[in-house]
Amino acid sequence: MLEKRVVVCLDVKDGRTTKGIRFKDNADVGDPVEMARRYYEEGVDELVFYDITASAERRKIRIDTVRRVAEQVFIPFSVGGGISSREEMREVLLAGAEKVSVNSAAVRSPGIITDGASLYGSQCIVLGMDAKRDPSMPCGYRVVIDGGRTPTDLDALAWARKAEELGAGEIVLNSIDADGTREGYETTLTRIISEAVGVPVVASGGAGRPEHLLRVFTDGRADAALVASMVHYGEYSVGDIKGFLRSNGIPVRLT
């Protein structure tokens, strides 16, 4: 049976991880490569890097980080954050990432999904989507971009279907309402989207305890769940989370 994936997300700025508290005793504090290797050794199924670097050097720094991770971490990982051209996609994939994630750029020019999928295959192209509760939208959630700052006219469900049709091979679905609360994923949103599309859905935003992953895998029908602070701050290891899921009947990979 296909296992449910536990995915760790690392926010990277100027080549350093922005939430590196757990490893503060380590000489490599905040080094995304070091953190990636630690999570890999703990048995994480996949990694996601969001590059929030603003400097002019960003592409060079990003490629260097991706290359160093790929040399040491032999599991899939994806890279997102401001990717808006085929050339940037190509650089990231050739450096060793399995997938690239597009978010705001795909809302502004949806053709980037089709371009990426036809050049590199749908399996490489992840749609990152930020959704916010809004009763005026048909599915009850509105797509927002630019890290949640800019509302769009898109209904979250309609956009997910459209992105699949355009060639996205996976959707990372982030709830703006739940993000940072550590009170659990937006299970309703996850279920609406996951049941409507034929590609895997990764739930994101709100994870604080292993029970939250259990709930989003069962009630939310998620294929994978993204965690950040609950592992970065040292409260839980990837192994703790997977052990809990396994003991509650969720198929997960144990290493």
Binding site: L2, R5, D45, A70, P76, G121, D223
Partner: protein
């Protein structure tokens, strides 16, 4: 090129950097090539890739790599196919009705369209080995490997099925015949078990006969 060089075949099907990273990790002597004349000079061959059968076969024919791959296999030297490299070694793929290399008899089929079964099959899934094989040495029964594919091989010779996996139905996730091993999953992205499989391949002498004995579950 030394006599122990591994040839990694590059035919434009996806990204070879992961395979190269693993070979570097083991300090293996390898080249990446798209030239048919280089292929035969290796002592072992890795035929990786993800992508699409028709485009892959088109490129293999255009470059003459199709003949080079058949000749390499016929020479008896060890051959590892990965993902699309586990599909186009068969006679035919349903993906755009594509005639393939025919190194092993059989077809490549798509997962059925059924409710709740997401295609592509993406993520970690258990592999049940059906044969004892040096390339699978030390891998626990039911080890999880990383998959990303919509099609899978259906060997015409049942004895070629070396491992199976469940996804909607039971499908063949690895095949083996004499000097050839091919896996539908990605060992280069499957953590420690994947590294073990590749190091086993590097150490393998390339000889294997299916003794017919099944592996205990």
């Amino acid at each position: 090129m030394s006599k122990n060089t591994i040839v990694v075949v590059d035919y434009g099907a996806g990204n070879l950097s992961s395979v190269q990273n693993v070979l570097r990790h083991f300090g293996a002597d390898f080249i990446v090539t798209s030239r048919p004349e280089d292929v035969g000079r290796g002592s072992a061959l890795i035929f990786p890739g993800d992508g699409e059968a028709a485009a892959s076969m088109g490129e293999l024919r255009r470059t003459g790599l199709d003949e080079a791959l058949r000749a390499f296999h016929a020479s008896g030297k060890k051959f590892l196919g990965i993902c699309i490299g586990c599909q186009v070694i068969f006679s035919h793929s349903d993906e755009r009705d594509t005639s393939c290399l025919g190194i092993l008899p059989g077809d490549v089929r798509r997962f059925p369209r059924m409710p709740g079964l997401k295609v592509p099959h993406m993520g970690w899934n258990a592999v049940d080995f059906r044969v004892r094989h040096p390339v699978f040495e030390g891998l626990p029964q039911g080890s999880s490997f990383y998959f990303i594919h919509s099609y899978y091989p259906v060997p015409r010779v049942p004895a070629h099925a070396a491992a199976v996996t469940e996804y909607g139905e039971t499908f063949v996730s690895a095949v083996a015949d004499r000097n050839l091993v091919a896996v539908q999953f990605h060992p280069e992205k499957s953590g420690l078990v994947g590294l073990r499989l590749i190091s086993n391949f590097l150490a393998w002498d390339g000889c294997w006969e299916n003794g017919g004995g099944a592996v205990d579950a």
